[in-house]
Amino acid sequence: MAAVSLHDVRKRYGKTDVIHGIDLDVSDGELIVIVGPSGCGKSTLLRMVAGLEVVTDGEIRIGDRVVNRVEPKDRDIAMVFQTYALYPHMSVFDNMAYGLKIAKLSKDEIQRRVDEAARLLELSGLLSRKPAALSGGQRQRVAMGRAIVRQPSVFLFDEPLSNLDALLRVQMRLEIKQLQRRLGITSLYVTHDQVEAMTLADRLVVMNAGVAEQIDSPMAVYAKPATRFVAGFIGSPGMNFIEGELHAGRLLLANGDVIVPREAPVHSGEVTAGVRPENLAFVEPQAADFSLQVVSVESLGAETLVHGVVAGRSMASQEGSDVIAGVAGRSLAVRAAGTLDVTEGDTVGLQVAPGGWHWFDNTSGRRIPEA
């Protein structure tokens, strides 16, 4: 068991900076998910913690040790790879036991640990098989087993579920979460899948282009995205954005139109306003802030996604209403619970839910605090 801390960690390949200085403190037993689009540097960051990549600058601590120059095997970590990286010519047992044999553990101890891990992962009947004779889910478990038997202080997961089909992914996600809770081992988990990230994480690190945009609990990230990037990345479908100039509580759009939100921060300058699809509510035309011409309806049973274009103001602008005028032609996504009685071509009235607006400074991309 150990805490992990990263202090201003940087990575440079030749002249290209790929990680721009990351600070992160992981407390003992915590499950941290590092999420971001491909190429954002999340895997590189994890591999630096593992010791597979050299840290260009900064400091990585595992427990109370700086491990920058420590060999992977001496870092007291275990890693689960995206491709599992099982040794194809070894049986399941030997795959799990390999590291222990190298560490010169006694035969009995190796047997005990592998058996225990196999029982935990329901692999007991498969120990003599070769990886080629296993299903994708079973291979994934063996990869987990290989990590568990080492009894490391830190687990590192590099997109461990991305080679599984959707159903198995959901199941394994739950198992990993339970396992991690049960073993209480500090874990760093890299994924590009935001659902995986939201459901697994104690805290999320949202990365983009080598920068940690936000480090916070999943709900905090969702409710108060720290940057425009995070706002767009977390949540599906993504947040609807409108750019303009905020001045005295009014949002001036480039084409001269004006939006007067119910709530706006005390701020002046170029901003982006965002509303999540689920924060738009269908209302009677009289109460609507604006109307939407429906382009497509995706009924998922539990919820309905409506994509449409803003058709213009449906009613006179009133003081205190969210008027999205002049944004005619702009595409918006709306998400509503249950089924809806709308079809393509309909025009419906919409209203922004209270607290539904998010504001971001265009220069810094950072969130503008509410008034």
């Binding site: 010791g51 597979l52 095997k73 890693m79 995206q82 990286a85 010519h89 390999y98 190298i102 290989r146």
Partner: protein, 278 residues
Amino acid sequence: MVRNNSLATVLTHVLLIIGIGIMCLPIWLTFVGSTVTRAEIVHPPLPLWPGDQFLTNYREALFGGRQAPVLQMLWNSAIMAFGIAVGKIAISLLSAFAIVYFRFPGRQLVFWTIFMTLMLPVEVRIVPTYEIAVNLKLLNTYAGLILPLIASATATFLFRQFFMTVPSELAEAARIDGAGPMRFFKDILLPLSRTNIAALFVILFIYGWNQYLWPLLITTDQDMNTIVMGIKRMIPSADDYGNWPVTMATAILAILPPALVVIFMQRLFVKGLIESEK
């Protein structure tokens, strides 16, 4: 395939059998020649069916010793072929491992130095190579037979290609499991290369066995001759009838080991041949 004509099928088989007949004819006649008496050969035509002197001729070839120590030559050939195959595979595995799994200053230079030898056969630089071998006192030694012929990059190239198809995560997983480079090489890379090594072994064994010019130069002592080159001295000259049956028996003995390797390890042989020439 679309096939509607059984006549065409029969014709194809007939043509194939004729082709095989032509391909196998020299070997058949050699075999026949090794089973008849000298008198039968001296008075053409040679019969087309084997005679009854099989045991006599092969016994004389193997143990007669009057012409050349064939048994000793077979032994020398075996050592040479084995030495070349094992030596090439060993040095190639190691250098390919270094080139693929390490980065070190001078790596490119090493790479190109080795790969320059890819196609330069020993025949081309035969005279100076011979002089160097003589200076190094390699004349009439097994080392002299073997060492100069293991300086080729084909096997290194093959292993490099293969190593590059091994996922790098395997090496990383091994590193996290605590395996150092040599441990990874021994526990993971070698077992994974098993088939490639076997296939290459088959090819190199035949290559080594069939060497001619180099043994011709480097072995002046009859007891160090290999069978493939030793047979040259057994060929009767044009106006001397010599002992053709024993020569032919020796030829068959010289073909037998590599031929058995090809036939019984056909799958490996074909794989080795096709991969080593990629």
